[in-house]
């Protein structure tokens, strides 16, 4: 029954919704077309819509081929654009940083003082063509592009294809039977890596790009005029979508892929190899994203590491509308979202439209895909595609903490003493790590214990920080109450965002929370009424006349560094907060609520049959996690003295999920490890100060570590330690054949 249902056309709520949306679109169009400037704005959105559609098609292809919802599809388009840019302008193909084993030898020799000692380095660029200088009119020297357009395009596509193969064979093939969380995390890792590589090679500032497609104004009826490159772009994406539709509808390959998407086991029985299908689809989807990244970059005249990357959100909205399934619906939705975005941009600048601080409300354009995603998922409820995989694998094991109270208090005491002894930059590292632990803890509760993937925890932290600044500080609410109000504001937003989670699971929840984070970031944090260009200020905390803000003067107690900032008492304050939160989370795991949470995570149906309120447990987890994240937001607000949009938001939320997962998403000790490895934390400081690895590599390493972890050890660093310790204990007491308490698959992993 299930194997055929998707192949048949049915009047599902999704289809009805898509039909309704397109009808509404048509009506709206007719109304708007009466207005010349509005119809012009809509038409101008079609180029952006084409890129959204292309990324959405790439996402759909990935899902069809390998069951992965690829959060990195936008990043792939951006990466493709940069490959082309490097080739065309400089004639150079840039390489991602490749670890050089010789560097260790070299570094070792340097430690012993031979600074001039040098071994071969792995190149950063491969030069394929040289730039030539030409003299243009009026005697100005201009640099000619190094490589012809066609050559740069072909080489870019080849590189994209190779990347697709690498993604498949090294990342997603090993993960094909992994839990959804591992797949999401791997694609997040890919996202982080691609962005980090581009920032490393090209910096984060925008590069201007020259047009590839001809740019002549084309006059359409009703006084609309469009640059011809946008029309070409739309034409190409339509051709691609129709071609994909035809391939999937009429060819054996497409049929096999669809069969595999519906039921992997079924496809195997029919004699198809789902692995081969996945590989081909990965190559196709990376090439597709990369190709349109190249073609579409000139529409904005420039390329940067963020803009195209974040188009993944509207692209996911478009792909969701088509249930990751129909190419034509995806195309229409992508184009529609692009045009609607452009129109919203225009009308939000009109005088009659509500304003925020005298200017147009920011983030309205981001709210549109978010609303679409929420609506689609809430209406469809349970009927979303969950792939029939051969085996279901559990989430990482969530152990009952042992000896948590003495361990955490001893560690905190030790760290507290260290704060007064170490130099200021180490003090800062400790503070950053402790604040990071708080955010990771919130993910342990929500994702680790209840299995709800959230890509918005930093956005919630930001809500708390901004509330602390704008409401609490502005009304002179004293210290311990201010951050609590902030955290409660985060709880309110967290609960609101948690409501869709009652009907949405797995990767779809990740999509919802990511879209929510993007919306909060643009709607609230980037809103000039909330934060100026410098961000929103936060007054340092003080209690009973004691001032312990990071920049408050302090007197020497013992050790070194009297008066040097940051104030170590601020570190002590953060430690006290994190110990309280850690013990709270430990108690959650040890008590009824933890058992109920893990029951929901294990099996929602069975939990309901056992009398557990699944919705209640999830909502509670969303609230608790938002509260913890909110406390983290207040701490980081105090730490910087202000809150800025860049620090909170969608991409930082993603990166924090990475750190939490790397540390170990399902245990408190994992959150501690996660805090140690956050950027600016203890590990990065060790790397920059002792091993001399630049700060810029932190994110790259985090992304790589994340993927490695997702594949080889879903229990994170803390889990690996725990298993080794358990194995050691077993070896020590071999005679005593007690019951083995680690699940068999972990042992299998240890053995391999």
């Amino acid at each position: 029954m299930t194997t055929t249902s998707a192949l048949r056309r049915q009047a599902t709520p999704g289809r009805i919704l898509a039909l309704g949306a397109s009808l509404l679109g048509v009506v709206l169009l007719v109304v708007i077309l009466a207005n010349a400037d509005q119809s012009q704005a809509i038409a101008l959105g079609i180029g952006g819509g084409a890129l959204i559609a292309a990324i959405a098609l790439s996402v759909t292809l990935n899902y069809q081929g390998s069951g992965v919802v690829n959060f990195a599809a936008g990043a792939m388009a951006m990466y493709g654009g940069y490959i082309y840019y490097g080739l065309r302008v400089n004639g150079q193909l840039f390489l991602p940083p490749i670890p050089n084993p010789l560097a260790l030898v070299e570094g070792g020799v340097h430690i012993f003082g031979a600074k001039s000692f040098s071994l071969p380095h792995i190149p950063v660029f491969i030069t394929l063509a040289h730039t030539s200088k030409g003299v243009a009119a009026y005697g100005t020297v201009i640099t000619q592009p190094a490589m012809p357009v066609w050559a740069a395009l072909i080489i870019s596509m080849l590189v994209c294809a190779v990347m697709g193969l690498i993604f498949h064979f090294l990342i997603f093939r090993p993960l094909r039977h992994a839990p959804v969380l591992a797949k999401v995390v791997a694609s997040v890792g890919l996202f982080i890596i691609m962005q980090a590589v581009i920032v490393l090679r090209f910096t984060s500032s925008a590069k201007s790009v020259e047009p590839i497609l001809p740019q002549r104004p084309v006059h359409l009826p009703r006084g609309i005029s469009l640059p011809s490159d946008q029309l070409f772009l739309v034409g190409i994406v339509i051709v691609v979508a129709v071609a994909l539709w035809a391939i999937f509808k009429f060819t054996r390959f497409g049929l096999a892929t669809r069969a595999a998407a519906e039921n992997e086991k079924g496809a195997l029985v029919l004699g198809y190899n789902p692995d081969f299908l996945a590989g081909v689809n990965w190559v196709a989807s990376t090439c597709l994203a990369g190709f349109f990244g190249i073609l579409a970059a000139p529409i904005n005249q420039s390329i940067d590491p963020i803009t195209i990357t974040l188009l993944i959100v509207p692209a996911l909205a478009a792909a969701l509308l088509a249930k990751f399934n129909g190419f034509i619906v995806t195309l229409m939705a992508g184009l529609g979202i692009g045009m609607a975005t452009s129109w919203i941009q225009l009308i939000s600048n009109k005088s009659w439209f509500p304003k925020s601080g005298g200017a147009a409300i920011p983030g309205l354009t981001n709210a549109l895909p978010f609303l679409i995603i929420i609506l689609v998922l809430a209406l469809r409820g349970k009927s979303l595609p969950t792939r029939g995989s051969i085996e279901t694998v559990r989430l990482p094991f969530a152990p009952r903490p042992r000896r948590a109270v003495p361990t955490s208090i001893l560690l905190a005491l030790g760290t507290g003493v260290l704060l007064f002894v170490v130099t200021p930059n180490w003090r800062l590292a400790i503070v950053n790590s402790v604040v990071g632990m708080v955010i990771c803890l919130s993910l342990v509760v929500l994702t680790g214990y209840v299995g709800q993937i959230s890509l918005m925890q930093m956005a919630l932290a930001g809500i708390s920080g901004f509330t602390l600044s704008k409401i609490a500080d502005a009304h002179h609410i004293p210290f311990p109450i201010g951050p609590l109000i902030g955290a409660l504001a985060a709880v309110v937003i967290g609960l609101l965002a948690g409501i869709p989670a009652l009907r949405v699971r797995g990767v779809n929840l990740a999509v919802v929370t990511f879209a929510a984070a993007v919306t909060i970031e643009n709607f609230v944090f980037a809103n000039p009424a909330w934060s100026g260009l410098k961000g929103a200020n936060i007054a340092p905390p003080s209690l009973f006349g004691l001032h312990f803000g990071p920049n408050d003067p302090w007197t020497k107690v013992f050790g070194s560094g009297q008066g040097l900032l940051p104030n170590p008492w601020f570190g002590v304050f953060c430690l006290v907060v994190v110990v309280i939160l850690i013990l709270g989370v430990v108690n959650i795991r040890r008590s009824r609520v933890g058992r109920h949470m893990l029951a929901v995570r294990s099996n929602e149906r069975a939990a309901a049959a056992a009398g557990v309120s699944v919705s209640g447990t999830k909502i509670l987890a969303f609230g608790v996690a938002a509260f913890i994240a909110g406390i983290g937001g207040a701490l980081s607000g105090y730490r910087f003295g202000s809150v800025t949009a860049g620090y909170f938001g969608a991409i930082p939320s993603m990166i924090f999920l990475a750190f939490a997962y790397l540390g170990g998403i399902s245990s408190v000790s994992g959150a501690v490890v996660g805090g140690i490895i956050v950027s600016g934390g203890i590990l990065t400081t060790v790397m920059t100060n002792w091993i001399h690895i630049s700060d810029q590599y932190t994110l790259l390493l985090a992304g790589l570590g994340l993927i490695t972890m997702a594949i080889f050890n879903p229990e994170g660093v803390a889990g690996a330690f725990r298993d080794s310790a358990a194995a050691l204990r077993r070896r020590m007491s071999k005679k005593d054949e007690t019951v083995d308490s680690t699940p068999p698959e972990i042992n299998a992993e240890l053995a391999s």
Binding site: R592, N603, A608, G611, P743
Partner: protein
């Protein structure tokens, strides 16, 4: 007055009637069997009773109409169930599996637990485990247990909630004859303890020996009901199980799997 009573219970899947106007009742302290060939709608009936598939018709339990309640609320009123494939919480130990079913979550209790977790009394749960020979497994994870043990933990978890009625979905499937007989004795002792059980199983020997009363389904319709002795000699039942050897008046339609 019956503990559980359905009137016209109907479940449709896209036009197919998986359960068709079923009337059944289970009395306090009664062990009622629900049997029928594959695809007869037995599991669907349990799903409908416990709220996991939408259904039409009335379901009254312990004097109240429960058909509009969620699965969770039905479970809390004392309508428990087990699953064909155990569906244990694999992340929790056996004892924790039982605790989840036995304990209710309240916000006040949650706040108190944050500060100092209570040491919940598990002696009653331990005696449930002991009665099913699972005492040794209390601290093990379900993944470490044998298939038969997992099935029993499923039963133990259902009993941990102190239900008035437990719907058991093929608890003996995959067990050998000896294990199956032992399970039968345990189910019987559950009923002697005052609970009611609605039992689905394919092991005819088991069902016919231990049940007080039987309902027989075929293609979603009730084709017979009665005591085991009556069912044993019912022609329609024999036909349903052995195929259309005899001419039958029962309209069969084209459903089934």
């Amino acid at each position: 007055m019956s503990l559980l009573e359905t009137a016209g219970l109907t479940v449709t899947f896209g036009g197919k009637r998986a359960v068709d106007s079923l009337n059944l009742s289970v009395d306090q302290g009664q062990l009622v069997g629900l049997i029928g060939p594959n695809g007869a709608g037995k599991t669907t009936t349990i799903d409908a009773l416990t709220g996991f598939v939408p259904s039409q018709g009335r379901i009254s339990f312990d004097g109240d109409e429960i058909s509009s309640l969620s699965s969770t609320l039905r479970a809390r009123r004392g309508l428990g169930r087990t699953w064909q494939s155990s569906e244990l919480f694999d992340d929790l130990t056996v004892m924790e599996n039982l605790q989840v079913a036995a304990e209710r979550l309240r916000f006040g209790g949650f706040l108190r637990d944050l500060v100092k977790p209570r040491n919940d009394d598990v002696s009653e749960l331990r005696s449930i485990l002991d009665s099913l020979d699972l005492g040794e497994t209390a601290e093990q994870l379900p993944t470490e247990l044998s298939h038969g043990q997992r099935k029993l933990v499923g039963v133990a978890r259902a009993l941990a909630a102190s239900p008035k009625l437990v719907c058991m979905d093929e608890p003996a499937a995959g067990l050998d004859t000896e294990e199956s007989q032992a399970l039968g004795r345990r189910i019987r002792s559950v009923v002697e303890g005052g609970r009611s059980v609605l039992l689905i199983d394919h092991d005819m020997g088991l069902v016919l020996t231990i049940c007080d009363y039987l309902y027989v389904l075929d293609f979603g319709q009730l084709i017979a009901e009665g005591t085991p002795a009556e069912i044993r000699n019912n022609d329609q039942v024999i036909t349903a199980y052995l195929g259309e050897r005899h001419a039958t008046t029962e309209p069969h339609g084209s459903t089934g799997d």
